[in-house]
Structure formats: C-alpha cells, structure tokens
C-alpha cells in the first residue's frame, strides 16, 4: 500500500523530453528496440500490434507494474488502421447505451483529459454539432439527445436553426437545427499514440519492430511467440492486431471469433484558410453503417472532409480515387459553400478494422492469459485508453497499480489552432532550434533530428511525417525534400533518394 501511494505521488515528477534517449529497453529483457534479434528474458505481457490500441494497452500494463514487450509486424508503428483517421476525441454521446464501446470511449476520453497536458498532447475543445438537413433528420435529434444523456453526456443540447447559424455562420442553406455536444474535441492521433507507446518504453517496456508473429505456443505458464525478430516469451498476451485481428487470433485459438471486413474511409484535407469556415466538428445525423461525412479542423489547423465508408478486401492497401474525392469536395461545399475554391492540401484513405458486427470483439481466455481486442472499427483513438483499462481489469483484476516512479515523456508540440496563436508553443518559437526544414508546417531541424533518435526513432519517411509533419503541408515537399534527403541519409528505409552515380559536388551540371 505504501509503495502504491509513493508511486502515484511520483507520477509526472520525472518528465523527460520525448526526444531523449530515455527508457531504452527493459533491463529485464535487455533487448534492442529496433527490430533486432531477441536475446533472452521473459516478459509479463506481450502486446501484439503497435497501433493506438496496442500502444495504450502496453502503457497501461507497464504503468501497472508489468514488464511489457510490444511486437509489431511492420518496420514502423501506427502503420495500420491508426495511420489514417479523423483525429476526433469522441465523448461517446452516440454510442449504443451501456455498450462496451460507450464505456471505453467515455473512460478513454476521461483519461486523455487527465494526462494530455503532462504528455504535451494537444486538445482542441471545438465541440460538435450534429446537423439536421431535413425534417426527417431534425425529427431524430431528440432521440440522439436522449442517447447522449443516457451515455452521461449531459451537457448536450438541441439548437434551433438560428442558434446553429449564429455559431456557424458559414453553413450552407437548409440547416434545420442541430444537437450540440460541447465535449467533442480534436486531438493529434499520431502524437497521442506515440506518447502512449513512448511512455511505456520510458518506463521499461520493449518494442520489437519488423517482428511479424508467425506462431504461438502455450508452454507451461508462458507463451512462446515466434516473430520475424526472434522468439519472445511472455506470461500473458494481448492481441491488438487491428486489420489482422482475425488472422492473429487464429494463431492462438482453433478459429477466429470474427472476420475482418476492412472498411475504407477517404478524406480530403483543405489548407489553413479553410479552417476558419468551421469552428465545431460538423457531424451528420448518423446511419446504421457509418457516422457519415464529417467536417472538422485538424490538430494542425487544416480542415478535413471525410470519411467515406467503403467495404473492400485488401487489409493493407488504402487507395483514394478522384471520383470519390470530388464527391467529398462536392458534399463539403454543400455543407460549407465557402469551401469552393479553397485549396486541397492532401487526400488520404484509412482502413477501419470492421467486422461482421458493430460491437467491439473482445475475447478472453483468462486460464491461458490471453486477451484479444478486435474489431475496433471506428472509435479506437477515443477508446484506446479505456480499452487499456478494460484489458488490465480483465486479464488481471488483482494486479496492483504502479509501485514505482512513473516517467512521463513530453511530446513535441505540433498543434496549430487558427483562432489561438498558441503557436509560440511550437519549436520554431523556441531558442536554438537549428533552422526550419519544412517551411509550410514550420518543422525545425531539431525536431527532425529528435524524431530520428531514441526508442521510437522514425524508420520510414511516412513515420517521420507522422512524428514531425514534415512534407505534410501545402507544398508536399517541393521546398524541403532535398534537405530531408540529406538529414535522413542512412536512417530511413526506403531512403528518400539514392546517391547519383556521379553526383555533382557543387550543384553544377555536367556538360
């Protein structure tokens, strides 16, 4: 009891910069963290999958005192479903009442609100408006309000057309009222997940990348896992394999309890001037299949329109298509006519690990120390911390809370709020940042170099983008790709470029 108290008190006392090479590996495991071959040692918990759910689960178990190893098939973390989403921190107002999803979203949001400042994670308290565009939709708002209240989101309220217009003067014609949910917010989906994982690592967890799981055996009281980066032994295993959830489950059970049906969502991102067109997250009245096309700001001061909901077979390929992107833009212009003529800065697609059912797919085998968290199809970013609490309670309800000091890394501050010049928190406003590398997103040399170091060092250009935002702005690398190629030489696979056979040393062309 004394130890628990002590540990709790020391939380946040040992803040370290996220860029520091802190908590490199569990002393117990002594394993390298960049996909090297394992040496020896047994972990208390192995987490399969380094998406946002796996990151949150690893953090929770490690902070609870277990020794954790995270194994990730890809060379980069957040390389599956977690790499493309809308970045909304939901309240759970529209989740099925009493569902596990509702509980996890609510608990996850609460924990995010409690920890985001100490981890240096942004929170844009925009609130959301569920917009009704016809009588039928307007007629459904009261039931949505009742659902919100039943989910404990009691600050939600119905707004008249005039009230909606006053809040969002740029909305197109035909709005018929709205449900306002003040607690809905915007976060940075990548820095959040990176922070969870980094905090697990800073407190002793181990990360193995390029470690696809090929076989799993229960041997006495432990699991033996064969991975592409060598064998791993652990007492308990939590599967957070996202788009491969059913495939991975089959390595542990005779058959999977669900089937992944990848559901693609395409997004269009408008440049900063468009962000002034919407203050709230603008949601449609949801249907059974999807939350529908959302318009919201991003944590980086852009404006997002999406996602679509398209069933497909591929679990890895998330392609956009011009016809759908144009349709998204058209829909966006109906909602916000001012979007016409605004510049598109990026388009992307994400894959949701949907299954044949809407519910989260949780499967527990307490006897064998095994938990599968599957089918986190859409609310994973909001629910991740709540799911992690749930996993810890399921797998070992008696587990003590932290008994030692907790290290809290601080993430680089990347957020931009177009209405609030909090930009002075960005590194470019701090002394001795070494110069700007990415001019559109004002990413500094110090930020890029930091992202290439430490236990979560970027290993791909995509990973470097998620950590720093380089090349994510309006020019998409027109101005900075050459400098990035030089800065990242030998660090990324694939590299930005390959050396020319006879590189001109002075920039002069050969005759």
């Amino acid at each position: 009891m004394e130890g628990v108290k002590q540990g709790m008190q020391q939380v946040n006392d040992q803040s370290v910069a996220a860029s520091a090479n802190a908590g490199h590996a569990s002393p117990q495991a002594g394993a390298p963290t960049r996909g090297g071959i394992a040496t020896s040692g047994r972990f208390d918990v192995a987490v399969v999958g380094a998406g946002v759910v796996g990151a949150a689960v690893a953090r929770r178990f490690q902070l609870n005192g277990a020794s954790v190893v995270v194994i990730e098939a890809a060379t980069e973390v957040l390389d599956g479903a977690s790499k493309g989403n809308s970045g909304i921190l939901h309240t759970g107002f529209d989740a099925p009442v009493g569902s596990l999803e509702a509980r996890c979203v609510i608990a996850g949001r609460e924990e995010y609100l409690a920890i985001h400042e100490s981890l240096g994670l942004p929170l844009l308290r925009t609130g959301a408006l569920v917009l009704a565009w016809d009588d039928e939709q307007a007629g459904r708002l009261p039931e949505l309000l009742a659902q919100a209240h039943a989910n404990g989101v009691t600050d939600s309220a119905l707004l008249s057309t005039a009230e909606v217009r006053a809040l969002e003067p740029s909305l197109g014609a035909g709005v018929r009222g709205a449900l306002r949910v003040p607690g809905e917010a915007i976060i940075d989906p990548w820095s959040a997940a990176h922070a969870y994982l980094l905090q697990a690592l800073a407190n002793g967890a181990t990360l193995r990348r390029s470690a696809p799981l090929t076989a799993a055996r229960r041997n006495g009281d432990e699991w033996e896992l064969d991975t592409g980066a060598g064998p791993v032994r652990a007492g308990r295993v939590v599967l957070c394999a996202g788009l491969q959830g059913d495939t991975v489950e089959r390595l542990f059970w005779p058959d999977a309890s669900f089937t992944i049906r990848p559901r693609k969502g395409q997004f269009v991102v408008y440049d900063t001037p468009a962000a002034h067109l919407a203050r709230h997250i603008l949601l449609p009245v949801p249907t059974a299949v999807t939350k529908g096309i959302v318009i919201c700001r991003t944590a980086w001061g852009k404006l997002l329109v999406g996602p679509t909901a398209e069933e497909q077979d591929s679990r890895t390929e998330a392609a956009t298509d011009p016809v759908t992107l144009r349709a998204l833009m058209t829909r966006g212009e109906q909602i916000l006519p001012g979007l016409a003529g605004q510049r598109v800065v990026a388009a992307y697609a994400g894959l949701r690990p949907a299954t044949e059912q809407k519910e989260y797919r949780i499967r527990l085998d307490a006897e064998r120390g095994l938990l599968s968290i599957g089918g986190i199809r859409s609310t994973g970013l909001s629910a991740a911390l709540g799911l992690a609490q749930h996993a810890a309670a399921l797998l070992n309800p008696a587990e003590p809370a932290a008994t030692r000091a907790v290290t809290t890394p601080r993430m680089p501050w990347l957020a931009e709020d177009p209405d609030d010049p909090g930009a002075l928190r960005r590194d470019w406003a701090q002394p001795e940042h070494g110069g700007i590398v990415c001019h559109c997103e004002l990413v500094t040399r110090r930020e890029v170099l930091a992202a290439l170091e430490g236990p979560l060092a970027a290993t791909t250009l995509a990973g470097l983008k998620r950590r720093t935002r380089v090349t994510m702005g309006r020019c998409q690398g027109f101005n900075c790709l050459a400098e990035l190629a030089t800065l990242t030489r030998g660090r990324l696979d694939p590299p930005v470029g390959e050396a020319l056979a006879a590189a001109p040393a002075d920039g002069h062309v050969r005759a």
């Binding site: 598109v344 700007i436 027109f478 101005n479 040393a505």
Partner: protein
C-alpha cells in the same frame, strides 16, 4: 495555453530594423535588393534557405541570365551571380530566416536558427515566388508510396543533395518546367517512361514534343494521371485517355507545373489576396493593400521566367524608392480592374494607378484555355477600348497600361473598370 500574440510579445527585441526588408531571395527579391541598395537604401534580404538565389539554384540547365548578365548561364551560376551582385551593392542578408507573420505597417515576425525574433521596416517587399500544384491538388488517386514529387523537389534532390528518388518515372505536364524536369532526369541518369499532358497540345510551345522524342520519351496528350499504385515505392501510374484506363509501369511520378503563388503568409495576414492570381492584390506600383508592403516576381502571378521576375523586382524597387523618398500617389486614387469572362484566368495588377516611370508598365493576363476573341475595357457597360486576342494557356499576354489609362480617361474618373474577354458564340 493561450500564448501572447507573436507581434505583441515582448520576449525579444527586433533582430535588426532596416529601411527595406525583402522577403525571399530569388531573382525578383535580389534584383530589387540590388537596385535599392544602389540607390543608397539600407536593405535586408530574409531568405529561408541557407543560400539565396531561389529556384534557379537547382535548375542545372540554361538559359538564364540574358537580360541580367548579357550571356546564357545555367541556373546555379545565375543564382550565384545575382547574390554576388547584391552583396557587392551592400545588401545585407539574414539566412536562413523564415518569416512567420506579416503585421500591419511593415512589422515582421521571424524565426531564425536561434529562434523567434521581430523586425520592422519602412517598406517590405514580398518576393516569395511560386510552388507547383501537388498530387493532392490535382486529385490524383491511388496509394501513397514514396516517389511522387514536383519538379522543384526533384531538382533540389538531384542538384543540391546529389540524390535520385527514382529511375523510371512518368512526367505529368507539358509546361516549360515539365521540360526542365526532363532535362534534370537526363542529367541524373533517370529515364522517364513517358510524358503525359491532359490537354490536347503541349502548354510550353508547339514544337516542344520534339525534345522528349529526341530523348526517346513518348508523349501522350489528352491523358490524365488517374492514380498511383505501389506500397512503399511507386510501381505503376494509372492513366486515363478518353474512357480508356491504362497503366504504365513506373517507379515514380513527377507532378510538374500548375504553379501557385507562395502566398500563405499573405493569406494569413491582413493583406488582400486576388482570387484570380492567388497572389496579393497590387496596384501598378506593385503596392499591396497595406501601403507598407510591395510585391514582385512570381508571387504576383503564376508563372513567369526568372528574367521577367528579375525585371519586375527592379521595377518595384523603383516604386519603393519613390515611396520612401518623395511618396507615391495615394492608394485611393487607384481604379479597380475587374476580370470578366470565363476564359480570363487573371489580371495583374488589379489596381490602375496614375502613369509613372516606377512600377509596372503593362497589364499581364492569362487565359484558362485556348482563346480567339475580343478583349475590352468597360465602364458601366460602356466599351472604352477593344482589341482582338488569340491566346493559349500558360503564355504571356500583356497590354500596355498607358493604353488602358488613355481609354479610362474617356470615362472621367471611374472607380472600377472591367476587363472583359469575349469569345464568339460557336
């Protein structure tokens, strides 16, 4: 969490105040800087890269410099000479220095390697140039592998970093810069598999397909890039010719041209932006809606040659000298010029000021598609002047401002004139 406004922050002193601050050290900024320094003004160029010179720094091919140096140079040599000439004239440089905000009256918020700082100038010249439209801006679908980039990024990779991002790319576009991409590829031992152009003919010049053919690169007109395929690297480029979808194996895509003024600083500022050019609204002196600010070069409109931008920098430098020494005519004396007609893409300048030897002497305009029609100047529906116009997209069209001024005089002192492009009904 709410931080003080950067301009109002007392956290730092001005880095160095100056009479004229120039944002952007490309051909326009450097020519203006040189001219201003030669006129005895204290000039500071803020360049966000470590080296000034602008885009020509990484255009490793001719022709540059005929207008400026009387000889044909390759881009890097041309850029060096521009910098040397400015330095010799006494121009000061702050580099790398990124301007992050423009405030009323010529106050700039800047970040350098050392951090945040401020600067205040009697006049500021904005010369931030252009960038190319990205893959996203062209709504090219597919996956997002590495190896899709603009000509600018390719040139910087090849000429500044000595790296090649691919070996067999497709080039999208047929503007001058697209051929620049082709030459850059050739220099780096990269062999493009094809050049594709959505339009029916090349945008650069009629004989331009000869060059890729000479180099063994097939050209496909009337062809769009629909999508990119591949996981980590580009594996193919999906094209659409009419209704036919077809795929070319390729390990990269060069998205060339489609220039856009690099005006994000202006968009985030108090200065007015012109919807047609995408650059700042300027009068014939190159003066913006805040008379402390001027603009020159490709920021004004997409896109002109380095030599043209250089001449513009010199012309606007003349305006700045006059503004600081004897004063320019009051901005309210200007007449708004409004573009009319679907095929008329933009006009620059957008405000007509009284005749002067300083500033621009011609109205620049561009058409959105091949046009054979009539260009007219109108006031309240009354035609004051007309001229036949045959023009192609991406080609320079100019009308002497004095012609418009003379025509405008017949309307008394109008506040607003329309420049209309009419095409005969087909």
């Amino acid at each position: 969490m709410s931080a003080p406004d950067p301009a109002g922050a007392s956290v730092s002193r001005p880095a160095s105040d100056c009479e004229v601050a120039i944002v952007g050290g490309g051909p326009a900024g450097l020519s203006a800087a040189t001219e201003l320094a030669q006129q005895g003004l204290d000039v500071l160029v803020l360049e966000r890269h470590a080296e000034a010179g602008g885009i020509p720094r990484h255009c490793g091919h001719p022709p540059f410099g005929m207008r400026e140096f009387g000889r044909v140079l390759r881009g890097p040599e041309y850029a060096k000479r521009l910098v040397a000439r400015a330095e010799a004239a006494g121009v000061r440089f702050l580099r790398p220095a990124s301007v992050v905000a423009l405030r009323p009256g010529g106050a700039l918020v800047i970040t350098t390697e050392a951090g945040l700082t401020h600067l205040s100038a009697r006049a500021v010249l904005l010369a931030t140039g252009v960038r190319e439209t990205t893959r996203a801006g062209r709504l090219i679908g597919g996956t997002k592998p590495a190896g899709v980039l603009n000509t600018g990024a390719l040139q910087a990779l090849v000429y500044l970093a000595g790296q090649a991002p691919f070996r067999r790319p497709v080039i999208l576009g047929s503007e001058l810069v697209s051929f620049s991409a082709l030459l850059t590829c050739r220099h780096a031992g990269i062999r493009p598999t094809a050049m594709v152009e959505p339009g029916a003919r090349p945008l650069a010049w009629r004989a331009s397909p000869l060059l890729p053919r000479l180099l063994g690169v097939p050209c496909h007109f009337g062809t769009q890039v629909e999508a990119v395929s591949g996981r980590e690297r580009v594996e193919g480029v999906v094209l659409r010719t009419g209704d036919r979808l077809w795929e070319l194996p390729a390990d990269g895509l060069i998205v060339s041209g489609g220039f856009i003024p690099e005006a994000s600083l202006i968009e985030a500022s108090h200065l007015a932006v012109d919807a047609g050019t995408g650059g700042p609204v300027v009068d014939a002196f190159g003066r913006c809606s805040d008379p402390s600010y001027f603009a020159a070069g490709n920021l004004l409109r997409p896109v002109e040659t380095a030599g043209w931008s250089w001449a513009e920098g010199k012309a606007v430098a003349g305006s700045i000298v006059q503004a600081l020494r004897s004063g320019l005519p009051d901005p309210s004396d200007a007449v708004d010029l409004v573009a009319e007609g679907a095929a008329l893409r933009y006009l620059m300048p957008q405000r007509l000021t009284p005749a002067s030897t300083a500033g621009f002497q011609a109205l620049q305009l561009r058409v959105a598609r091949p046009v054979a029609g009539t260009l007219s100047l109108r006031h309240d529906g009354l035609e004051l002047w007309r001229q036949r116009l045959r023009a192609l997209p991406e080609r320079r069209v100019v009308v002497p401002l004095d012609v418009l001024r003379r025509a405008a005089r017949t309307a008394g002192s109008p506040a607003r004139l329309t420049v209309r492009l009419e095409e005969p009904a087909s």
